[in-house]
């Protein structure tokens, strides 16, 4: 909003002084969006209807053939299902944790600033570095977690869980690492949302006789609905489209059990050289994301309180 506002203002000043200036100021943004967002997007749609392959120069229109074939592929259906499992589980955990954290961090206590800083840390670290760190933590031989569990005599040595090597554990690991990554972001949004609730409202609830849980579930959380849906919307899109965590931790394995749409598209299109099929998989995500965004914005709009 702010950026757009500033942009139009500059444009109008430019238009008043010299007609070329406005266009010149506007050009970088248009170029950026055109080259890096609109271009590749159009190209992906174009490829999705062709038989493009890496290493081949021939290109023919094949209609819906790519979509028909991916819809029939069991790997694709698995990836689609995994994407939903992955996104929904992550979002539920993230929202519960970040709501709790935002409540805990709202009260003043010594060292609150430091704790807030620590919680933000995963968000500022580059995701690839974080994911590589987690790969070590969950490694089959060097896993710190396994060592601790063995030390506590919860597991016998040589009979330890393979965090990234067993289908369900691998999915759980990927989900948890993604939660680790998204909770800070979500918490910051929630903290901002909570400060927008006037202090008298929970006080009035206390005087009306409501306890902690009633105030939380009937007053605070409903009043936070718009901000929670924004956090869910962003979180969903980040999770649904992300492939870094999956790619680094498991590369989709074992047996495609953690393959999601983005990582499957990458595996098919780039690693498997079938550009057209990869593009079709990516394009398949568009209507899904549009639907999610539409519903989230509607919820936010409905719940708008003031």
């Amino acid at each position: 909003m702010a950026v757009a506002g500033a942009g139009t203002k500059i444009k109008s000043i430019g238009a008043a002084t010299s007609p070329g200036l406005g266009a010149a100021m506007f050009a970088p943004a248009v170029t950026y969006i055109g080259l890096l967002i609109a271009g590749p997007f159009m190209l992906a749609i174009f490829y999705a209807f062709s038989d493009a392959r890496i290493g081949s120069t021939g290109l023919h229109y094949v209609g819906l053939e790519n979509f028909r074939s991916i819809l029939q592929s069991p790997s694709f259906r698995m990836a689609l299902k995994n994407s939903f499992v992955f996104t929904i589980c992550t979002q539920i955990i993230v929202i519960v944790c970040s709501t709790t954290l935002s409540i805990a961090l709202e009260k003043k206590f010594r060292g609150r600033g430091f704790v807030r800083f620590l919680i933000l840390l995963p968000w500022v670290a580059p995701i690839s570095l974080g994911a590589i760190g987690w790969k070590w933590i969950l490694d089959s031989i060097y896993s710190v977690i396994t060592w601790v569990l063995v030390w506590l005599h919860i597991f016998k040595p040589y009979d330890t869980p393979m965090w990234l090597g067993q289908p369900h554990l691998a999915m759980a690991s990927v989900v948890l690492v993604h939660c680790w990554r998204l909770i800070p972001f979500s918490t910051v949004i929630m903290l901002a949302g909570r400060t927008a609730i006037p202090k008298e409202i929970p006080e009035a609830a206390a005087i009306d006789g409501a306890g902690f849980w009633r105030t939380l579930f009937q007053i605070t959380i409903p009043m936070m609905t718009p901000i929670i849906s924004v956090a869910v919307l962003f979180g969903t899109i980040f999770t649904f489209t992300d492939m870094t965590v999956v790619y680094i931790l498991t590369a989709g394995g074992p047996f495609d059990s953690t393959q999601t749409l983005p990582s499957f598209a990458f595996a098919t299109g780039i690693q498997g050289s079938d550009l057209a099929a990869g593009a079709a998989i990516s394009v398949f995500m568009v209507p899904v994301l549009v639907l999610i965004a539409y519903f989230m914005l509607r919820v936010a709009h409905r719940a708008e309180v003031t």
């Binding site: 006037p198 008298e200 006080e203």
Partner: protein, 346 residues
């Protein structure tokens, strides 16, 4: 219904600084309408919030119905409070706002509808029950806040400047409505305001606060006619009481007692020469400000409030007088009220 009492109640927000509330002792009467009056920052809200249980006292005790409630939650104190901002729940309808305390206090569900409708009809908002707070006017919001407060029949009512968000006209009608409402339900009520007219009009008794201390506690008549110190004398009344120094004491008299000498029929009166510097015509009365001329009080600024009748010229000196029984005497150093005494004026 219950009596609220505070004993040496003190609240210090920052150690080492003067407290927001200092050593306050007061006791309401059964069913009384008690007003806390004081300028901004005098600790009225803090005092009220301690009684409500939203703020922990630094020292002292609070008693409701004879029981010490210091360690009780707001809910256990069985009080109701109307906030200055009303603090309605914005996501709930008026009906649900009013029903919220019933739900929170586990009143049987069958009774909700009947109680909400009783409270709503008492305040004339029965037709608004399905609206959200944002669809209401300021006056309607206030009534919803009141309805939410009375619906569970509290033992004490606390109101923090509930009229300050309303425009002047609405404020007057809301004030009358509140008074009528209090007469009807008869619950002990504590009302916070910084508006002395409101305090005089509504209060059975007034607690005048300044810098966290009680300056005077009495009926509107006592507080107005017998101010305990110069602060109370000048805070109540508009225009405020005239104060002139004379020897060891400060002498005060109200603008409405300062009149043309020939109109003062009292046998014992103090005469003054008064030069009018400015005259304001307010429709029903004149407000004259000017200087006393001659004697020990030469050059002191004073204000007179006169009914229409004669007209007064700016720049002219008149013979004015104050009946002796209307003079108030205050100690010059402590500014506390002292006994009346004979003084030399010339």
């Amino acid at each position: 219904m219950a009596v609220v009492e505070t004993r040496n109640l003190t609240k210090v927000f920052k150690e080492g600084e003067l407290g927001a509330v200092n050593n306050v002792n007061l006791e309401t009467r059964e069913g009384e309408f008690l007003v806390f009056l004081g300028p901004s920052g005098s600790g009225k809200t803090t005092l009220l919030r301690m009684i409500a249980g939203l703020e922990t006292p630094t020292a002292g005790e609070i008693l409701i119905g004879g029981k010490v409630v210091n360690d009780m939650t707001p809910r256990e104190r069985r009080i109701a409070m109307v906030f200055q901002s009303y603090a309605l729940y914005p996501h709930l309808t008026v009906y649900k706002n009013i029903a919220f305390p019933l739900k929170a206090q586990k009143v049987p569900k069958e009774l909700h509808k009947q109680k909400v409708e009783w409270a709503a009809s008492l305040l004339g908002i029965a037709s608004l029950l399905q609206r959200k707070p944002r669809e209401l006017s300021g006056g309607e919001r206030q009534r919803v806040a009141l309805a939410r407060a009375i619906v569970r029949e509290p033992s004490v009512f606390l109101l923090d400047e509930p009229l300050s968000n309303l425009d002047a006209k609405l404020r007057l009608s809301a004030r009358e409505e509140l008074e009528r409402f209090h007469k009807r339900i008869g619950t002990t009520t504590i009302y916070v305001t910084h508006d002395q007219v409101e305090a005089m009009a509504m209060g059975d008794r007034i607690v005048v606060l300044n810098q966290g201390s009680v300056r005077q506690f009495g009926t509107p008549k006592e507080v107005y006619d017998d101010p305990a110190d110069t602060f109370v004398a000048t805070f109540l009344g508009s225009p405020p009481m005239n104060l002139v120094e004379n020897g060891e004491v400060i002498v005060g008299f109200r603008p409405e007692h300062f009149r043309l000498a020939e109109e003062v029929t009292d046998a014992s009166k103090v005469p003054f020469r008064f030069r009018v510097e400015n005259a304001e015509y307010l429709g029903a009365e004149y407000i004259l400000s000017g200087l006393l001329i001659g004697g020990r009080v030469d050059g002191k600024k004073v204000i007179a409030r006169l009914l229409l009748g004669q007209s007064y010229e700016v720049g002219t000196t008149y013979d004015f007088a104050v009946p002796e029984r209307h003079l108030k005497f205050f100690d010059r150093t402590t500014e506390k009220r002292v006994d009346a005494r004979a003084l030399a004026w010339q």
